[in-house]
């Protein structure tokens, strides 16, 4: 089948992830929405790999997964540290640098 439906699905998922990052307040859910965006871009990469008939897109998706894993590890550690000191996982509570 043509690659377009996959790309449209990827675009929809990316948009939903985007809106989630903008609207959700819980830092962990925001993180999940970032993961959703990364996954959506992975789908586009895999689709392009199939459309172009070479494996470069799949390698790129693999690298995105590795980077996402590293990002999640560090991000969740930061969320844990903030939660320890402020007893809150809300992104709006960590606003001390504003003042």
């Amino acid at each position: 089948m043509s690659g377009s439906p996959f790309l449209v699905l990827s675009a929809i998922l990316f948009t939903i992830g985007c809106v989630g990052v903008l609207t959700r307040r819980n830092a962990i859910v925001v993180f999940m929405c970032v993961e959703l965006m990364l996954n959506a871009s992975n789908l586009a990469l895999v689709t392009f790999a199939r459309v172009n008939g070479n494996l470069d897109g799949q390698v790129a998706a693999f690298f995105v997964m590795v980077v996402a894993a590293a990002e999640v590890v560090v991000g969740l550690a930061i969320i844990m540290t903030i939660f320890r000191t402020r007893r809150s996982a809300s992104v709006d509570d960590a606003s001390l640098l504003k003042y």
Partner: protein, 280 residues
């Protein structure tokens, strides 16, 4: 093809659920649905290796890490409804819709032509093909990845590490502290009363009854109390208890099901628990 049309509505719905789920745990489970759906789509698109990696790394490791942190942070760390910036949500949804429409229209306009397909690239297997690329063309990126992973692991360890500021309390210290509390404040020296009435109920969530029929507040866990899952001692149990009193004395304290005489004892029928829910 069939897989795509079955999975894509499920995935979009699950992703939308991510936006509207009140509890973070539900959001994590919905994200798992999206990720498993994506892995099947990878399989459909001739990427068996990425299918496996998606299941193992994303659904298995990353999402479990998410759930683990959620449990550490507290399951009820839900979002508040009050907006910090007025109208932020509405604007975010508007901008998001606009962005989505632009993206979908743009992608829909692009003529991709007939897909070449990976039959030739996957001729001697998907995994050997990927390995060939990974260790020749992308070998430097691959090496950089290892540095990135090491840095992330060390960073997580540094961030999660906590230096102990006070010395660790030993059993002797705790005993001495108890004796001090008894001497200064008259705190009860012995162990706390155990929960449960006649062991008829799931005993940890039912407060024990004192001899005069009042529920012993210290017999149930503080955590259960704040969660609002503490059940009152059933009325007929108390009546049974008081009926066996040979002088027929009524319990002097407030008993279950009698909200009028309940002052600060909150775990009775109909009386609101601290979080506003009824305990029954």
């Amino acid at each position: 093809m069939v897989a795509f049309w079955i999975l894509s509505p499920i995935m979009v719905l699950a992703a939308l659920g991510l936006l509207f789920a009140r509890k973070a745990v539900h959001a994590a489970l919905l994200l798992a649905v999206v990720m498993i759906g994506l892995s099947v789509l990878y399989l459909v698109q001739d990427a068996p290796f990425l299918f496996t990696v998606q299941i193992i790394v994303y659904t298995g490791a990353i999402l479990m890490l998410f759930l683990f942190v959620l449990m550490l942070v507290g399951v009820d760390a839900s979002d508040s409804i009050v907006e910090t910036i007025r109208g932020q949500r509405l604007m975010a949804v508007g901008v998001g819709l606009l962005f989505g429409v632009v993206l979908v229209v743009l992608v829909g306009q692009v003529a991709l032509g007939t897909p070449t397909g990976l039959a030739q690239a996957n001729a001697d297997g998907n995994l050997p093909g990927l390995a060939q690329l990974l260790f020749s063309k992308y070998v430097f990126a691959f090496e950089a990845t290892s540095a990135l992973l090491i840095t992330a692991a060390v960073g997580a360890m540094v961030l999660a590490h906590r230096e102990r500021i006070t010395p660790k309390l030993t059993q002797a210290d705790r005993a001495a502290q108890r004796m001090r509390d008894y001497a200064e404040k008259g705190t009860h020296l012995g162990p706390l009363p155990s929960p449960g009435v006649f062991a008829r109920h799931n005993a940890v969530d039912t407060p024990a009854l004192l001899p005069d029929g009042t529920p012993a507040q210290t017999s149930v866990s503080r955590i259960l109390m704040t969660h609002g899952t503490v059940k009152p001692a059933p009325r007929h149990d108390i009546e049974q208890l008081t009926a066996t009193m040979d002088d027929g004395a009524r319990p002097r304290g407030p008993i279950d099901g009698d909200p009028t005489v309940h002052g600060e004892t909150e775990n009775v029928d109909g009386a609101p628990t601290p979080d506003g829910r009824s305990s029954s």
